[in-house]
């Protein structure tokens, strides 16, 4: 299509008729400031070409000039396939349309009203535009690619017919005639089973196979359950079988034990019976034995009793005789004992004569001891007296001696040194003036006044400080001065030192430290002596005091005096203690010997009497006992013989008992022989066999219990008919599996068909889009350089991204700058336009585009637009005409200057 001219009246801001044209076949630029109607022109052209004139609605109402009831009117002149047409449309009020064709130098009506709309769409190959509604961009046909409204330069999608047209224009058929419908059917079929991503559909419209697979999973689970039930049935049957086997085996083993058990039981019973009989015979034997022994004992006892009776009678007679003899002896012995007791007592009375002599010996010993103690005490008192006298003397000497201590001596030495140092310094500070006159004279010092008479040739010295002035008679005065020193302070120091020394040494009478030290040593020596004497006193005294010692002396003297009072001879001659003691011992020995002899005689006599008395008593007791025993023996004899049997009869009875005993013993031996034949007690073997038998029966019972239990379970499972259910389930499962297989085959086939078609289509698209991509890529490289790489188009011929050479994957368009994006879209449109204009020039409309493109790239784009002008008619709507001034062959239209003549300004 080529646009020749355009006239718009009553359209938005274009109130008055505005006509633009005639347009150049190449480049055209319509420019005007914002808000003056550039985009309205473009809009009016699109509505007129693509909308029906009877279009209604808010959007068409909006094109009516504001506040006016004016019907929008548009006239467009264009050429299509070499034929020139004019379309005139009035919208809204009195809407009408008229299509005219240029014939023989003039426009001749071709169609009007709806026919004009239809015919126009047919001419422009726009078949899918709406009837009364506004057309959308997808209804514009090729203009979708070639016309870029304001702010819509990008290409996001194209209608399938346009894509097909493009493919046709590119000489490649993707689906061919009727292929679109087939493609739609395939897609519809595919989407009824799969999602676009190729997964089976889920949810409400899920693919049937999902339900079948779900059912299969459930049935598989059910089959597993039934299979387990079937296996349980077989296991239960096996369990019953096993239990029966166990029970039968236990029964067999129990049966095998039965015969030995019966035999052993019999043997055990025999054994027990024999044992019982044996025991009985033993008891009989014992009884017989006891009878035999009892009779024997009775005979023996009777004999004994008789013997005892005889013995006791004889004993009584003997004792009675002995008692008479002992009574006489008892009388004689008593009299002898009395005589000897009297003699003993007399001997004992002589012991009293020894007491006086013993007391004298004791006094003599005491006297001698006291005398000796009195002498020792006197010696001690004398020594004590001597030491105390020496102690008193030394103590007095020490009291008289005054001596300094060590500290005082050290202080004296310190103050002496200080005074010496002060005096030395004082002497050094004085001015010493020595005068030796040739003749005798008198020298007078003024202050302090001192007058010295000096002989000829004699030295006279004056000292003072800080000066010394003297008047020498006959000579005059001499004044000597020295350095100023503090002589007074030094003198004070000397004086102070003297005071301290005087205070320290005043008690001792000397300031000589050596003498003071000597005094100190004398005092120390005295102290040591005093301490030594003190120690000696304490040693003599011990723990006693002087009063104690004196008290002891008094006591000793008193006892000595008392004894000499009783024994006056001891005053002259102290007693001989040993003589006294010997006399005492000799007398005592004599008396004690007599006493012992008398006592022995008495004891002997008394013992003899007591022995007789004892024998008498014993004899009396023996007589009594013999009488009692006799009585008891007679009693026993009476008891033993109460059977009134004769002794011979008893002997006969004992013989019979002996014979019975022997018989019973022989019978017991017979039973013992029989038991020995059986051997050990079979009871143990019997018990063992019983236990084994019982164990087998328990095993059998347990097996029977298991069998019953398993049978019960088996019956329960049998009633289930597990196999029948399993069979039915497996049949359903097989049927379902087959249906799934078929459905899967159907789906796999559909997927294969879909994927194969998609792959063929992708290959075709790749082949179709490649030339466009190459042209567009070359253009982009000329504008933006090679950095952006290759433009990639979708099968709908819209840019999908770019493929920089340095990268392996395509880059999405969002990653490009705004300027680069608009350049890429414009270039794609130009590239597609060139292919679409292969057979016929095509109109390109660019409404206010390239606003984000910099000047350099804009210049290169303008070059591309100029080159494209060979195939494309381009109409640029802009408010920046200066940006397009570089287009040398472009026609410029200033919208404000437009008049009915079109206002072209080349």
């Amino acid at each position: 299509m080529i646009l020749h001219s355009l006239r718009v009246t009553h359209w938005r801001s274009l109130l008055n008729p505005t006509e633009v044209g005639p347009f150049a076949d190449g480049l055209n630029v319509i420019h005007a400031p914002n808000g003056t109607g550039k985009s309205s022109l473009f809009e009016a052209m699109r509505r007129t070409l693509f909308d029906a004139h009877l279009v209604t609605g808010k959007e068409i109402e909006a094109v009516r000039p504001w506040g006016r009831s004016l019907a929008p009117q548009v006239m467009v002149e264009f050429s299509q396939t070499g034929v020139r047409y004019r379309i005139e449309k009035t919208f809204l009020d009195s809407a009408n349309a008229r299509l005219l064709r240029f014939e023989d130098g003039q426009f001749v009506p071709l169609a009007d009203g709806r026919n004009a709309d239809s015919k126009l769409r047919e001419i422009l190959a726009v078949t899918d535009a709406p009837g009364r509604g506004l057309s959308k961009q997808e209804h514009w046909g090729l203009a979708q690619v070639l016309w870029a409204p304001q702010g819509a330069l990008n290409l996001s999608s194209l209608s399938s017919s346009v894509s097909e047209n493009l493919r046709t224009a590119l000489g490649v058929q993707l689906t061919g005639e009727g292929g679109t419908r087939l493609e739609e059917l395939l897609e519809e079929q595919y989407l009824s089973f799969f999602t676009k991503s190729g997964k089976p559909r889920t949810g409400k419209d899920a693919a049937p196979i999902l339900a079948m697979e779900s059912q299969l999973a459930e049935m598989t689970q059910e089959r597993q359950r039934l299979l387990a039930q079937q296996q349980s049935f077989e296991e239960a049957a096996r369990a019953v079988e096993d239990a029966r086997q166990r029970r039968a085996q236990a029964r067999r083993e129990a049966d095998a034990l039965s015969e030995p058990l019966v035999q052993t039981r019999r043997l055990a019973e025999s054994f027990q019976r024999l044992q019982s009989d044996l025991q009985q015979k033993r008891q009989t034997e014992q009884t017989a034995k006891e009878r035999f022994e009892s009779i024997g004992r009775t005979i023996e006892l009777i004999a004994n009793a008789r013997q005892e009776v005889t013995g006791f009678k004889a004993q009584i007679e003997r004792n009675e005789a002995l008692l008479a003899e002992l009574a006489a002896e008892l009388k004689t012995g008593g009299e002898l004992a009395d005589e000897r007791r009297r003699k003993r007592d007399e001997a004992r009375l002589r012991r009293a004569s020894l007491n006086q002599l013993t007391a004298e010996v004791e006094d003599a010993r005491g006297f001698l001891d006291d005398t000796k103690a009195r002498q020792t005490l006197s010696t001690k008192l004398e020594k004590l007296q001597q030491v105390q006298t020496a102690f008193t003397t030394e103590k007095q000497s020490r009291t008289v001696l005054v001596a300094p201590d060590d500290k005082t001596i050290r202080d004296v030495r310190k103050h002496l040194a200080a005074r010496e140092k002060a005096e030395t310094t004082l002497q050094a500070s004085l001015i010493r003036l020595t005068v030796r006159p040739l003749q005798a004279t008198t020298a007078t010092r003024k202050s302090p006044e001192e007058i010295k008479t000096i002989s000829a040739g004699e030295d006279a010295t004056f000292t003072g400080s800080p000066e010394v002035s003297i008047n020498i008679e006959g000579f005059g005065s001499i004044h000597a001065a020295g350095p100023e020193m503090d002589v007074d302070a030094l003198r004070d120091e000397v004086t102070e030192a003297d005071k301290k020394l005087a205070k320290l040494t005043q008690p001792y009478g000397t300031q000589d430290p050596d003498r003071l030290q000597l005094l100190r040593e004398q005092a120390t020596d005295l102290d040591r002596k005093i301490e030594t004497l003190k120690g000696q006193i304490e040693e003599v005294m011990g723990d006693e005091t002087m009063e104690d010692l004196q008290g002891q002396v008094a006591k000793l003297d008193a006892r000595i005096l008392e004894r000499t009072g009783r024994f006056p001879a001891w005053k002259a001659q102290p007693p001989a203690l040993s003589v006294l003691q010997s006399a005492l011992e000799e007398q005592r020995k004599e008396i004690e010997t007599a006493v012992v002899q008398a006592e022995d005689a008495f004891d002997q006599a008394q013992a003899g009497a007591q022995a007789v008395e004892k024998r008498h008593t014993e004899t009396e007791a023996g007589l009594k006992n013999a009488r009692l025993n006799l009585e008891a023996a007679n009693g026993r004899l009476t008891d033993l013989t109460k059977d009134r049997l004769a002794d011979d009869a008893r002997l006969t009875a004992r013989q019979e008992a002996l014979m019975a005993w022997e018989a019973a013993r022989n019978q017991a031996k017979d039973y013992e022989g029989k038991l020995a034949e059986i051997g050990e007690d079979p009871q143990k073997s019997l018990e063992k066999l019983e236990r084994q038998f019982q164990a087998q029966e328990q095993t059998e019972a347990a097996a029977r219990y298991d069998e019953n239990k398993a049978e019960w379970r088996l019956q329960t499972l049998t009633a289930e008919g597990a196999y029948s259910k399993l069979a039915a389930c497996e049949e359903k499962l097989a049927d379902l599996t087959d249906r799934i297989r078929r459905e899967k085959l159907r789906m796999d086939a559909l997927r294969l068909l879909h994927d194969t078609v998609a792959s063929c289509k992708a290959a075709a698209v790749a082949a179709v889009a490649a030339p466009v991509e190459r042209v567009a890529t070359r253009m982009l490289a000329r504008v933006a350089g090679p950095r952006l790489g290759t433009i990639r188009l979708t099968d709908q011929f819209v840019p999908a991204g770019i493929q920089p050479e340095a990268l392996t994957e395509a880059v999405e368009l969002d990653n490009l700058s705004g300027g680069e994006q608009e350049q890429l879209f414009l270039i794609t449109r130009l590239a597609l336009g060139q292919f679409l204009a292969k057979d016929e020039r095509q109109l390109v409309v660019l409404d206010d585009v390239l606003n984000a493109t910099d000047t350099g790239r804009l210049t290169r784009l303008l070059t591309l637009l100029e080159e494209a002008a060979d195939r494309l008619q381009t109409v640029i709507l802009t408010c920046h005409p200066e940006r397009y001034r570089a287009l040398e062959h472009a026609l410029f239209f200033h919208l404000q200057n437009l008049s009915n003549d079109g206002g072209a300004n080349p």
Partner: protein, 370 residues
């Protein structure tokens, strides 16, 4: 004497290959049992011998056991039964059901003990386990029998390939044991074992009703006649099966050959009791697509059961005129690819999928043109 020998009723067996018709197939086995009893009556059989596997499993529904017992009860003569490897005499077996005692004419043998009857001596060999390597007839010694000696056994006659020995029975078992006739069960097809003299003294009756597709000589019972001890038995096969199991395998090599199959199906007389499994392979010509559809329709609608397996068909490598008529471009390219895929991978799953995909494309193409 005359008696009927039958075996392997396999009552309650699963029929996985017939889809939803499995229950019907099971019911038909019971009906066939009734026909066996009726045949025995019709031929005045003195007794009925069932040589094992009367039931498919010991865990079948007990109601079914009773039904079978009731069927046998209707026979006026005695019925002698041994257990087989499918229904061995084990705890919980079908033979513990009360119906066998309730029916006075039925004897279920539980021991290897001969039973002397008025006209013959029976040597039963009931099985107690599913598997065994022992000859179940080994215990028989009928050489001294004065009456016809007839044994009932279940197992594999030596020579039948069955892997490990499983209840093996010598080929000359009847002669070796001194039997006049050895009634066998286990194999579902009728089979007789003639001795060197050409006399048949042992035979499998086969199942009374076919159990699956491809089963040869099944659905029969045998009427046995023995005139006296030592005389060769006369065996007569009697049809008792009610279902017709057919497997049709056809390789398409020529155009329109499917039409003959359509014709063949329409000529089957008893479609209501016929089960058909059809396998097709070879070449699928575009012109045969309609016939293929009709085959499928007839199989699924006319017969008791019908299944068509046509995945083995490969689209014709050339002559696919409809492909050339597809819109030039993507679809035509895709169709050619699918055709090549189907041809190159013959017999594989991929071939089946590719063929199916091509068929689907054809359908879509037809719809797009409608």
């Amino acid at each position: 004497m005359t008696f009927l020998h039958t075996a392997d009723w396999q009552m309650g067996m699963r029929a996985e290959s017939v889809g939803k018709m499995a229950e019907r197939v099971r019911e038909e086995r019971l009906a066939a049992a009734q026909r066996v009893v009726q045949a025995a009556r019709d031929h005045n059989a003195e007794m009925l011998l069932l040589t094992g596997d009367v039931f498919e499993d010991n865990a079948v529904d007990r109601l079914l056991v009773r039904k079978v017992g009731e069927v046998l009860r209707r026979f006026p003569g005695p019925v002698y039964v041994i257990s087989g490897n499918h229904d061995p005499l084990s705890p919980g077996s079908v033979w513990e059901h009360s119906v066998w005692k309730e029916a006075g004419n039925i004897t279920v043998f539980t021991k290897n003990e001969p039973l002397e009857l008025n006209t013959c001596v029976l040597f039963p060999c009931p099985l107690r386990e599913k598997y065994s390597s022992k000859d179940p007839t080994a215990w028989i010694n009928a050489h001294d029998a004065t009456k016809p000696a007839i044994a009932l056994a279940h197992g594999n006659v030596e020579g039948i390939p069955s892997g490990e020995p499983d209840y093996p029975i010598p080929r000359d078992a009847a002669t070796r044991r001194g039997l006049d006739y050895l009634a066998l069960g286990h194999w579902h097809s009728f089979a007789r074992y003639d001795d060197p003299n050409g006399e048949c003294r042992m035979a499998y009756s086969g199942t009374h009703e076919t159990t699956k597709f491809g089963e040869r000589d099944s659905g029969n019972t045998i009427l046995v006649e023995i005139s006296r001890r030592g005389a060769p038995p006369t065996l007569t096969s009697i049809r008792t099966g009610g279902l017709d199991w057919r497997t049709i395998e056809h390789s398409v090599a020529q155009l329109s050959s499917l039409e003959s199959l359509v014709q063949q199906l329409t000529e089957i007389a008893q479609p209501g009791s016929t089960l058909i499994r059809m396998h097709l392979d070879g070449i699928l010509f575009p012109e045969d697509r309609d016939a293929l559809k009709r085959l499928d329709e007839i199989l699924t609608s006319r017969f008791l059961f019908g299944a068509l397996e046509a995945t083995g068909l490969t689209p014709a490598p050339d002559g696919e005129g409809w492909i050339e008529s597809l819109p030039a471009g993507t679809f035509r390219d895709a169709a050619q690819k699918l055709r090549a895929l189907a041809s190159q991978s013959s017999g594989t799953d991929q071939q089946a999928v590719a063929s199916q995909a091509l068929l689907q494309l054809f359908d879509l193409y037809e719809r797009s043109r409608a």
